[in-house]
């Protein structure tokens, strides 16, 4: 019975991989068009790191579970799945799970796009920006199988880590996080 169940799950997983590339990237700036450019977004904090600076965020010795999502405001499939990360963040706030959104936007977009996006969408997860041109080094350092396409997500605790070059629905993301809760 269980064999059948997991077999089916495996099949579904493969099916999912086959169909996961059907992504919608409708507009370059997603929902950013209605941003009021007269508004002052300078109060929005956005720490910018190179890969050396980001590294400490990608490992832990504590009992916490970390969900790190690599995204950009121009990446429509990223923008589409961000609300699921936010929703899970609030649903699991008492579960020792921490979320980090790593923006890969171009530096010249930090003030014009990233900060307004954070404020407008009232993002609760911590947002940082990664500005490091040596992607040939840091992409495989984050995961050897990462081609460099986004969105991409890393989930880890002190014992294990799992990397996902794919998009998530709320349920899919929750299922992955739950695997780390057990």
């Amino acid at each position: 019975m269980d064999f059948y169940f997991y077999g089916m799950r495996l099949f579904c997983l493969l099916l999912l991989i086959l169909t996961a590339s059907c992504k919608d990237e409708s507009a370059r700036n997603g929902t950013m068009d209605d941003i009021d450019h007269n508004e002052d977004y300078s109060a929005v904090s956005l720490d910018v790191y190179d890969f050396e600076g980001l590294k400490p965020f990608l490992k832990t010795n504590t009992d916490k579970i970390y969900v790190v999502n690599f995204w950009a405001t121009w990446c429509a499939p990223c923008i589409k799945e961000l609300p699921y990360f936010e929703a899970l963040n609030s649903a699991y706030s008492d579960k020792n799970v921490e979320f980090l959104l790593v923006s890969l936007d171009f530096p010249k977009k930090y003030d014009s796009h990233v900060k307004p996006f954070i404020k407008k969408n009232n993002l609760k997860s911590k947002v940082v920006a990664l500005n490091d041109n040596d992607s040939h080094t840091w992409i495989p350092a984050i995961d050897p199988d990462w081609s460099g396409a986004i969105p991409a997500t890393l989930i880890f605790n002190k014992d294990k880590r799992q990397f996902y070059e794919r998009t998530f629905t709320y349920e899919e993301l929750e299922a992955e996080v739950k695997k780390f809760l057990n």
Binding site: L10, S21, E25, L104, I139, G148, A149
Partner: protein, 201 residues
């Protein structure tokens, strides 16, 4: 029971990683498939049309990806420098225009005109070529060399190591690869990685 669960998790993982690496296109040394794709000038273009070419700089790119746009001038420069030396640029737009309308043929024609593309800008309408090559994002380059066996994959990856600032580039990966091929030297870096926009199939 837990063991069975773990076992299947491992099987799933192995299959997942196999899918991501082995089943995912060309490796260095593989022979790349030819194609017949429509260009922005209305002609159908194949690699076999280029009788005098020594090889090709095949670039999966598109209108809609900011990384592709950031590299447009450098792609033009690559073609200018290397087409006359036998390595023309062949640009292939791999996205599904129904998913990304800014990459439809009309938009491609317009972009090619406004930027003055000097190379074929092809649409992979059936979306069969990028999966065969194993391209997952734009921009992504495959440098091919004509051999007796066919067009051999010699380099896969990024154009250079700085998408933001051409002036701050320290390694021109594609140029280095083509220069090595032209002078019969081994290519130092045959595979590189960069952030890009996932291909919309």
């Amino acid at each position: 029971m837990k063991y069975i669960k773990g076992f299947f998790a491992i099987v799933a993982l192995v299959m997942l990683s196999a899918f991501a690496t082995v089943g995912n296109g060309y490796k260095i040394g593989d022979i790349a498939t030819d194609f017949e794709l429509e260009s922005v000038d209305g002609n159908m273009v194949s690699l076999s049309d280029f009788k005098d070419a020594k090889g090709f700089i095949v670039i999966f790119t598109c209108n809609s990806c900011p990384y592709s746009v950031a590299y447009e001038d450098r792609i033009l420069a690559l073609n200018k420098k290397y087409a006359i030396q036998g390595y023309p640029v062949i640009a292939i737009m791999p996205n599904n225009p129904e998913v990304q309308p800014r990459d439809n043929m009309a938009a491609m024609i317009q972009r090619a005109k406004s930027k003055g593309f000097t190379f074929p800008y092809l649409i992979d309408e059936a979306q069969k070529i990028s999966p065969q090559y194993g391209a997952s994002k734009t921009p992504e380059v495959y440098v091919l060399q004509k051999t007796s066996k066919g067009n051999e994959v010699k380099y896969i990856g990024a154009i250079d190591d700085n998408y933001q600032d051409e002036g701050a580039v320290t390694s021109k990966y594609v140029e280095n690869a083509v220069e090595a091929l032209l002078s019969g030297q081994p290519i130092k870096e045959t595979q590189t990685r960069a952030i890009g926009c996932s291909i919309k199939l």
